[in-house]
Symmetry: C2
Subunit: 311 residues, 2 copies
């Protein structure tokens, strides 16, 4: 199909109600009417690249569309905002045929419905490398950034960490067939932005981040931005039965996965009070950096994790 036909296909799949959207797919730009009474707009862009964020032999085209959308939505959730609507820009090599484009769009549509943020426009380009850029707008009264954590706050987490990385490891090592690994495969293929948890967190949290590049790296960023030390409790991280079972099934250390595995899109918040749907995984102290509080004492952790440009 040519460009116009491809856009028409996408528009058919994505058609549906969109609150506050006066003009959607098919013009130079989308036209929006901000919902009345909205305090703040939250705006993010994320891009998923073949060979970096996904491998085609590990995920269906529909998974690829789903994952790309949820990764962007997670940034909005991490600010304590409600996703509103989205635009998507695809770079499509010849290997992505019309049937694949339809599946990708269906995956995006499913995720957009799950998150409650319709796709109202975008861009198509050919190219040699396949990528999906997703930009989302969200709305909130009060945005929760990374820099507000205070000494004495608890560190609270919703969702899993390490499970998606365990799923990817199961795929790369060919051990994905183990029953205990199935939740890990699903975590990697079908991550979910924790929108409701983000909204719950916004009531009391002083700082928050989503775990896309690994807990150590992302909580390290929160601590650095807030000028505090973050303390992680390993027993709380290992209280995740699904993670421990999946890690055992493929023979890797669950704590290593929990600290350094990315792409689960868990939410971590710092705040003075428990948050519905979150469990405590540590504390905020005076100091800097990140430590693991073990029975033998505190172990400083390197703020490492996924880095696009480190060698």
């Amino acid at each position: 199909m040519d460009e116009a036909a491809r856009i028409a296909l996408i528009a058919r799949i994505l058609a549906g109600p969109a609150r506050g959207v006066e003009l959607g797919i098919g013009d130079d730009a989308a036209v929006l009417l901000a919902p009345p009474g909205v305090g703040r707009l939250i705006w993010t862009i994320d891009e998923q690249v073949e060979g970096v964020h996904f491998r085609r032999d590990f995920a269906s085209w529909r998974d690829v569309g789903w994952r790309s959308f949820q990764a962007a939505a997670s940034d909005v959730a991490a600010m304590g905002a409600r996703p509103w609507c989205a635009l998507c820009a695809l770079v499509l090599p010849d290997t992505v045929d019309d049937a694949a484009l339809e599946e990708i769009t269906l995956g995006q549509r499913d995720a957009a419905l799950a998150v409650g943020a319709p796709i109202v426009g975008g861009n198509l380009s050919r190219g040699t490398g396949f990528s999906i850029a997703t930009t989302l707008l969200g709305v909130c009264e009060r945005a929760v950034g990374r820099s507000g954590a205070k000494v004495g706050d608890g560190l609270w987490m919703a969702g899993h960490v390490g499970l998606a990385a365990c799923g990817l490891r199961a795929l790369t090592t060919g051990r994905g067939a183990a029953a205990a690994a199935l939740p890990a495969l699903a975590a990697w293929r079908r991550p979910e932005a924790l929108v409701s948890s983000g909204l719950a967190m916004a009531e009391s949290a002083r700082a928050a981040i989503d775990v896309s590049d690994g807990l150590a790296r992302d909580v390290g960023h929160l601590a650095q931005a807030s000028g505090v030390q973050a303390v992680l409790d390993p027993s709380a991280l290992l209280a995740d039965a699904a993670l421990v079972a999946a890690a055992r099934a493929i023979g890797v250390d669950p704590l290593d996965l929990a600290l350094y595995g990315g792409e689960d899109y868990a939410l971590v918040a710092a705040g003075p009070a428990p948050i519905a749907g979150f469990r405590r995984i540590g504390d905020i102290r005076e100091g800097a950096g990140l430590v693991l509080a073990t029975e033998e004492g505190d172990i400083p952790l390197l703020v490492r994790g996924f880095d696009h440009f480190s060698r």
Copy 2:
């Protein structure tokens, strides 16, 4: 440099005042306060891909950054809106080193300043194909879409058509050294989104589009969306002295360039009254499609131009 250092470099270059932006580069998402009294938000995403939208031997890194930003800003201008702020997502292969990234960012920064829309966030990823995705928000009271042209309207144009394509042709044929080709080279390397023209147009225009893929294709889209026929006057298109001189210097037909050459980002509007800064290039009639009104009569034009997926 690693990812954090690259983001810090970009943040330093892009630092500056940004109206209505509470939180910019460095968090999960940007936080915006819509300017008070704003009617509508205009939202677009555009992506420029190496080997498709630019060749590195034809443009400096700074040109590449500039062009990518202006292409997105032109979509906002074409809706009659004022650009507000932007996010940029870059996919960077190893061939884009730190010095190149700095130049690209400077080009984006220059364009953002020229357009009046600061870059307040983004995303970096490695990948094999180099691309820049730019998403812009704009504001306006009344958005000018593609579908409102009425029979009897004039067709009005601001800016050049064909000049950028002439510049690209000069580069690909090695004839770029001719003095008459210099404005064409500049048009291709340094296009400018016609923001002021777009704002002027919004007063009276009933439909508008920016010419990114060629006049025939883009005006054809406007006619189709509006359910009318667009008539182009070739003598008006050939009244562009810079185009005619450049086309002659490299030995190509200026009318062919004007009709089918893209990437100038001229604005074409349909409306009942002359618009400051626009010249008349045709009319809107009852019917469908696009015709060229010559002395020998009307010649139907194929709505062709740049298509990413046609063979």
